[in-house]
């Protein structure tokens, strides 16, 4: 059995994901006005508007100028993830992450090998582009109409109806067809946050001298392409595709991974020195 320490970030993520859903239900059904609405747009404490910037982008593409309230709400979210937290939405907020993580765990427990179907992780950027193209052509926010994320959070918060079918499809796809198939390959919202969070500050960092190259971090990582430095050099994960889920940190037996800043102050000054003496950097 895995220890709590090996799941500490997972437990924190689940707590936040479930707490957010509970707050939405309390806000919409019972009038506890901490959070109202859902992940598309919401009102925090009855005052602060929050909006899904990718949903708004589709609405713009569909030819509608939304009100200032929504623009401010989208801006707050975009700033938070773009500047600070990176693609953390996917691992810490998105309720579908619970489903896809479960699919991955089930696969693992069943001892399934990585399924044969190959799919490019860049597919999501095509899906994202297609979301915007179709929004423009059809005049409706195209992804919001088919999003299993929307089906799930609207379902939990406002009533499920037949919305479970899309969620079940994602579960089966992830469990049986492609590992991390939806979140890691197809989801345009994840693609959007990967692009928006490219330069974010909070990053997973690797300490080379502690690493024993057991590669558990890479095995556990839902986006293993973001960990090219493991066992090779010190440094931060720089790819926007990292969801800051913290799996690599919690599974590492050598404490060679930790959350930190993209660039430490020391590194910053070292780089400046290196710029002044380019020979030494060779």
């Amino acid at each position: 059995m895995a220890t709590i320490s090996e799941n500490r970030y997972r437990i924190m993520r689940r707590t936040i994901q479930i707490l957010l859903l509970a707050l939405f239900i309390a806000g919409n059904v019972y009038g506890v006005k901490v959070l109202q609405g859902n992940f598309s747009s919401s009102l925090l404490l009855g005052v602060v508007p929050l909006s899904d910037p990718f949903a708004l982008l589709q609405v713009f593409a569909a030819g509608t100028m939304v009100s200032a309230k929504a623009v401010i709400g989208g801006g707050i979210i975009l700033l938070f993830f773009g500047v600070l937290a990176g693609r953390a939405f996917c691992a810490w907020v998105c309720p579908l992450n619970m489903v896809t993580d479960l699919a991955d765990t089930v696969r693992e427990r069943a001892g399934a090998r990585v399924p044969g179907l190959q799919m490019s992780r860049n597919a999501r950027y095509w899906v994202m582009g297609m979301s915007l193209v179709l929004s423009t052509v059809l005049g409706i926010a195209a992804f919001e109409w088919i999003s299993p994320i929307g089906s799930l959070h609207r379902g939990i918060i406002f009533g499920m109806g037949a919305g479970w079918t899309a969620v079940a499809a994602v579960f089966l796809f992830d469990a049986l067809v492609v590992r991390n198939g939806f979140c890691g390959h197809l989801c345009p919202l994840g693609a959007f946050y990967a692009l928006a969070g490219r330069a974010s500050v909070v990053r997973v960092r690797h300490v080379r001298e502690r690493c024993t190259r057991c590669m558990r971090c890479v095995e556990a990582c839902p986006e293993p392409q973001v960990l090219p430095m493991v066992g090779k050099r010190d440094g931060a994960v720089t790819s926007g595709e990292c969801t800051n889920c913290g799996r690599c940190i919690e599974v590492c037996p050598d404490r060679a991974m930790h959350f930190g800043m993209r660039t430490t102050l020391k590194e910053h000054f070292d780089t400046e020195k290196a710029d002044q003496n380019p020979d030494k950097n060779g």
């Binding site: 708004l56 939304v66 009100s67 582009g129 195209a142 109409w145 929307g150 609207r154 009533g159």
Partner: protein, 261 residues
């Protein structure tokens, strides 16, 4: 050279897959989005614009103090994730502060559409300007039209005596009773649905339909001569008519003088 060809081929393949996916996606959306019978919250912009602007956040649904609004679930046969009313179960109570429209962050519900000017020219909310739909009466199943006394819809109407009035008519069947028939007036009906919920028949004989569905449109050429100023509408009518029938290319004399076969 081969690298470049490979790259271009790979790009074309990805674009092809994206295009196929996009076409399937678009086809699915085309079939799903239209619902002629959907009844939107007060202040909703036109259905096309509404669908473009709504992000399916449910803030209007959360804001409704009567929990009358429903956020369409898959399987409801309404555009998924968008708000609508089921009047027979939960009609709009016409709140004066219109919290649903006020909550909308994107402008799919626009408070300006339910705003009026007061005496000083200041904008004030007026829920009576809401046009959720229009109540329509099935005279064949309405028991008031049978001659049985019922004024449930009339009494339930929050715009009583303007949106619903009662017409008195002689009951020719008995020769000595009256028929008190409810009549809906489109210039005052907000489509709130309180009449539909109040209706006593098994399936409501008065029910709300979207205005697009419930109303016709008379031409500018037909004038109500008994209403002052109505003839001004002729000025707005186009000079030429373009009637599109197989006969319209011919002169009326051609077919009027033709012998019957």
């Amino acid at each position: 050279m081969t690298d470049r060809r490979e790259f271009l081929f790979g790009l074309a393949k990805s674009a092809g897959i994206a295009a196929i996916g996009g076409l399937v996606w678009a086809g699915y959306l085309e079939g799903k989005r239209v619902s002629a019978t959907v009844l939107r919250p007060p202040g909703a912009v036109g259905e096309g614009k509404f669908l473009a602007a709504c992000t399916k956040c449910g803030l209007c649904v959360a804001a409704c103090p009567y929990q009358a609004l429903v956020l369409a679930r898959p399987g409801d046969h309404m555009p998924v994730g968008t708000p609508y009313f089921v009047m027979r179960e939960a009609p709009c109570r016409m709140c004066r502060d219109i919290p649903c429209a006020a909550a909308c962050p994107t402008g799919a519900l626009d408070l300006d559409l339910v705003r009026d000017r007061d005496a000083e020219g200041k904008g004030v909310l007026d829920i009576n300007k809401a046009r959720i739909g229009l109540a329509v009466i099935d005279r064949e199943t309405c028991i008031a039209y049978w001659g049985i006394q019922c004024d449930a819809c009339y009494r339930a109407c929050p715009v009583i005596d303007r949106a619903i009035t009662v017409d008195y008519a002689r009951n020719d069947r008995t020769g000595k009773h009256a028929i008190l028939a409810p009549v809906v007036h489109s210039d005052h009906c907000t489509g709130c649905g309180l009449c539909e919920r109040a209706c006593v028949t098994k399936k409501a004989s008065i029910f709300v339909l979207p205005r697009m569905l419930a109303m016709g449109e008379s031409s500018d050429r037909y004038v109500r001569g008994w209403e002052a100023g109505d003839e001004k509408r002729i000025g707005e009518a186009p000079e030429e008519t373009r009637t599109m029938t197989p006969r319209s290319s011919k002169s009326p004399t051609d077919y009027l003088n033709r012998e019957e076969p």
